[in-house]
Structure formats: C-alpha cells, structure tokens
Amino acid sequence: MVFTVALLLTCVVFLVAAMTVTTHEDSGLTSRSLPIILSVAISIFSAVKAILLWRSGRRHQIYLFRTDGITAKIILPLSMTMVLYVPMVMLFGYVLASVMVLMIVLRVFGVRDLVFIFAISVVVGIVADYVFVDTLGMFMPTGWLIETVHELL
C-alpha cells in the first residue's frame, strides 16, 4: 500500500509538471502529450489499487513494512553512505573516501573483525585507485583537504 500511494503521488507530481510545460507545436502530439497520458494512466492504476487494498483490509501492510525495521537498519544507512560519499570524495579525495566508505559498508554487511575491515579497506582503496585512475585513466578528485596539505607542504 505504501508503494502504491507513493507511486500515485509521484505520478500526480509528474502530471502537474507535465501540464505546466509550454508547447510550441501547432500540429500533432506535443512534448507534454505522452507524459500526461502516462502520468494519468499510472495515477488511475495506483488510485484503484490503493482503494482495493484499503477495502480488502490489507492496509495493515503499511505497518508490516514499517515495523520490520529494514528501512532503518539497512536501506537508509546504505543510501546515506552513498549520498555522503560525494562530499567525502570532494573533501578527502577518492582513495581516502573509499577506504572510509568500505569500512562503513563492510560493517553494515555484518563483518565484525575490525582489523580485517581496516586492512581490506585500505588495500582495496589503493587497488581501486590504481585500476580506475592509473590504468583506465579516469579522472577522480584528489580532494580539497589533500590538495591543501600538498600546497602547504
């Protein structure tokens, strides 16, 4: 039910966004035609499904999803780590940020040995930098902090 309602709200937002698009075409379908058709179709589906779920007494699924704790335990920490990875890379550079992120994620996945976590994170960070930056030639930020230290030295 949670997903169905979220889908409905998303499509209503898309529908409103599509309806505000100014069009210049004077013949045929405009640039907003298909987004409007699809948003309306998905919104109707979600609304009908939400009503059916509500009437069939399966609305308690909301609580099942909320109380199993997975969102809080796993999805949020992993998503937040990915989101925070960006400022960490900009601040500390790719290698150091990756080492820190690896340590967090290994812990989230249930690896308990802290020495192992630290050692493997450092090794993988260095290997990843060698493979992606040195071998494949990808540009990865060196990090504001590292650059500042370099300048000071």
Partner: protein, 517 residues
C-alpha cells in the same frame, strides 16, 4: 560468409581474445555466486567499457553474459541454490546427482549442454537477425511505433508475475525516459527547473541504480531477515560412486539436448520471456517424453541437460529483437544496447549496413566465448566450482558498492549522477520488494524516447492523426499481436486467480477442488 569475416576481424585484433577469456572467467565466477547476477556485473562494467574499443567492449560484456548463464548451474548443482533464476530447473535433478556423488558428471553435462544450446541459439541469431533486419529496414515510423507498442505490451505483461504491475513498470520506465529536453521541440519537460535534469536521466546511473544498488539493498535485506545463508553443502555424497558419464547417458542426452536447444532458441526470440521460462519449458517437455521416467525427480542426468541447453540457447536469439528492431528482448540485451549507444552505434535494422563488420565480429566472439566457457566448464569447474560457489558474497558487496559509485560518476564525470543512481537504487529495491518488474522498467526506459519520437513523427506525417496506424497493414499486425498477448496473459492471470480462490474455498469447506461434482 560474413561470419568468417567476423573471425578474420578478431584475428586482426588479438587483444579481444584476452578480453573473451577474462569475460569467461568473471562470468562463470559471478554466475556461480548466488545473489550476484551477470546483469549486475555487466551494469557495473558498462562505464568501464567507455575506455575500451567498441568491439572489445561489446565482446567482453556479451561473452560475460553467456558465461554467467552457464555459471548459474554450478551453485544449483552443488548447493541446491540457483546462481541465477535461469538455473532453477537445473537444481531439481542436478542436486540429486550431487547427493549421489555424481556432481562432476552433472557439471560436465551442464557444460556440454550449455555449449550445444548456446551454439544453436547463435546460429539462429546469425541467420535470423540478418533476415529480419533486411525486411524491417524498409519500415516507416508508424510501423516502428507499432513494434515499440507491441514490445511494451509483451514485455510488460509477460516479464513479471502480475500483468498490471508489469505494464505499470513499463509505463514508469517510459515516463522516466521522457525527463529532460524534448528532442523534437527542444522544450524542457519534467525537469522541475533543474539544469542537471534538463539533459535527461543518464542511462548508466539508472542501470547501475536498478541492477546494482537495488540488488545490494535486496541482499542486505535478505541477510538481515534470514541471517547468514546456510552452507548447504552435502556431506553425505558418496565418493565411492564412479563419477563419469556413461555411453548410455550420452545416448539418452543427445536428443534431449537437441530438442531443448530448439525450444530455448525459439523462446529466446520472443521479447521478455527469457531463460527462466525456457529452462522450465524444456524440463517439463523432456520429463513428459522421458525414456527413463523412473529416474526423473531422483537424479536424471537428462534433467540437467534439458534446462541447461534451453537456458543457454536463449542468449543468442534474445539479441535478434535488439539488432533487427532496436528493441532489447532481455535485461542483458538492454544493457548491451546501452553499450552500443555509448559508443555512438545506432541499434536497429540499419546496423547491418552501417556496422556490419562489427556485428559479425561480435557474433564470432560469442562463438569463441562459448567454446571457452565450455572448456572451462568441462575441465575446470568440476574441480574448482565447489570453492567458487562457497565464497561468502557478503565480502564482495562492499566492493560492488564502491565500484557502483565510480560507475555512476565516471559516465559523465558528474556527481549528480551518483544521486540519480541512489534514487533509482531505492526505487529498484521497492519495485522488487512489491513485485513490480525492474526488467520491464529498464527495457522501457531504454526504448522510451525512440518510441515517443516514432509516435510523434507518425502523427506529423498523417492527416488523420492517430488513425494512421490503422491505415498501415504491418502496423495493424503488430498492434494486434500486442493486444492478443495482453488478452491471453490477462485471461491466464484471471484463471490462476480463480484456481487459487477455488483451492482456498475447498480448504475452507474441507472438500477437494472440483469435488462438488
């Protein structure tokens, strides 16, 4: 003759052979690891192929997909855990053979059947794609829109468990593909005044989010619900049994492999059906025709040969809709379409004129890849498969997490893509969790813009608006196929619901289904 040209092209670039061997090894290993699919690894490696030659990139990922399909049988046979969905049927007889101490025979038969099936599929691809493309080359926008429409309906209604959820997933995929600047009028739409969104959602961040990050979330979720996956290794396997495939078994398996390869190849041509359907269809058919029915369900080696031949035979033909029509028929084909587009190669019927040499070299590399994984599977896997499939994947996921960041960022050197990937990781996880089809979403996302362009071009071409589709016989045929599939699937789904309701009622009243007669 073109395929010989393809092999000659490969000889000019010997480095591709190294890529093929690496792809085989990676494919077999990731296929054998439950919880990591070939599609996940391909999605992760797509951005890395930006730095490779187009042929090497395509050959690498194409072969990886093939080897991954075979690799799935290793965990299925040894641990009763399918490495991929496609190897679920292999598990039934394969694991029973392992319990009888015949794991090596099962693995060898699996490798042999996979090679035969895959080669049959590739032959169909080589001849079928060219023939269909030569016909579809002359089609106009209305016919192409009808084909896109049919693909959405077929993929949406066939891929998932629920027809309505599959269609909504496909519609959502198209809707997301429309975000950004409209290619025809240049108007920004669904961008919420964001400059980053005006260039549209990047293909790679969406693919990595849906296939890689959401898979990580799912695996983490499963781990917290069920704890560490149990080591299902069977210690009771008798070492005293002679673990070789007898001449009689080869004789029984030969026709099984042939028929199953044909079943798999035909199913592979149809968009959306895929390996999982093929392997069960072949298993069911061969069980029905079995010459030794008493062995089925107790460790029949034909029961390993049939699903393995069928699920690998899907690989080649699933590329036919992609190459001949520009419509990916499977998730791996959708990922490969991304690679074609990244390297500026337009997929569709014209590919056989614009990039003929590359396409046939890709086919040739597929055949070499099949032989390579056949050799690895026949000679190495029976000895090392046990160690590979037992590796704990919780140590691999963190590294996939870090690589996913690089994959999303490196596609356009833009941190915004990392956020897009994270959002689609959550979306993909929720879709899987609530039985919406991520495959239908991704395929629709990849072809959504093309479909819109052909629709609007068709309407612009016509004086009768949307009725143009009813004036073109080819378009009518494809629209009718789409609607027929929709009706058939809808009816099947309703019957299934009725059967479930009957069973529920009969349990409630204490009578058996149908006993009221």
């Amino acid at each position: 003759m073109d395929i010989i040209g393809g092999f000659l092209t490969l000889l000019d670039e010997p480095s591709i052979f190294a890529f093929i061997v690496v792809a085989v090894l990676i494919g077999v290993i990731v296929g054998a690891l439950p919880g990591i699919s070939a599609a996940t690894v391909i999605a992760l490696l797509v951005p890395i192929t930006l730095y490779m030659d187009p042929l090497a990139a395509l050959a690498f990922l194409y072969v990886l997909g093939k080897a991954g399909r075979f690799g799935g049988s290793i965990a299925a046979i040894l641990f009763n855990t399918p490495g991929t969905v496609a190897s679920s049927a292999t598990m039934i007889e394969g694991y029973r053979l392992t319990k009888q101490g015949r794991s090596k025979s099962a693995l060898r038969m699996s490798a042999f059947a996979s090679v035969c099936g895959d080669l049959t599929g590739d032959l169909l691809l080589i001849f079928g794609a060219v023939a269909i493309a030569s016909y579809t080359e002359g089609l106009g926008p209305p016919e192409f829109f009808a084909i896109y429409f049919m693909a959405f309906i077929v993929i949406g209604s066939v891929v998932g468990q629920s027809v309505s959820k599959g269609l909504v997933s496909a519609a959502l995929g198209v809707l997301c593909s429309l975000i950004g600047t409209d290619p025809i009028s240049g108007t920004a739409r669904l961008t919420f005044d964001s400059l980053q969104l005006s260039r549209g959602l990047g293909l790679i961040p969406v693919l990595v989010g849906i296939f890689v990050l959401s898979e990580l979330f799912t695996q983490a979720w499963k781990a917290t619900r069920s704890g560490e996956p149990a080591d299902v290794r069977d210690s009771s396997a008798s070492e005293s049994v002679q673990d070789v495939i007898t001449a009689d078994e080869w004789r029984y398996c030969a026709p099984v492999i042939f028929r199953s390869s044909v079943i798999g190849a035909v199913i592979g041509m149809l968009p959306g059906l895929g390996s999982a359907v093929a392997c069960f269809a072949a298993y069911g058919e061969e069980k029905r025709r079995a010459k030794r029915p008493q062995l089925w369900g107790h460790g029949a080696i034909e029961g390993v040969a049939a699903p393995e031949a069928a699920n690998n035979a899907v690989s080649g033909p699933s590329m036919i809709p992609l190459l001949a029509l520009g419509i990916p028929g499977s998730t791996i084909a959708a990922l490969l379409m991304g690679v074609f587009l990244i390297h500026g190669i337009q997929v569709g019927p014209t590919i056989f004129t614009t990039s003929r040499e590359l396409v046939f070299a890709l086919f040739a590399s597929g055949i070499i890849g099949i032989i390579c994984y056949g050799l690895v599977g026949y000679y190495l896997v029976p000895f090392f498969g046990n160690y590979v499939a037992r590796f704990r994947t919780k140590y691999i996921y963190p590294f996939i997490f870090v690589t996913a960041f690089i994959a999303a960022y490196s596609s356009a050197m833009n941190f915004f893509d990392v956020y897009v990937m994270t959002v689609f990781g959550i979306v993909g996880f929720l879709m899987s969790r609530f039985s919406y089809s991520t495959s239908a979403f991704v395929i629709a996302f990849v072809i959504g813009r093309g479909a819109e362009e052909t629709l609007r071009q068709s309407v612009l071409l016509s004086d009768s608006g949307l009725f143009i589709f009813l004036e073109r016989p080819v378009a009518i045929i494809f629209l009718l196929i789409g609607l027929t599939v929709l009706l058939w699937r809808g009816r099947y789904h309703m019957k299934k619901q009725d059967r479930k309701a009957t069973v529920r009622d009969s349990i409630g009243t204490g009578s058996r289904p149908g006993s009221e007669e």
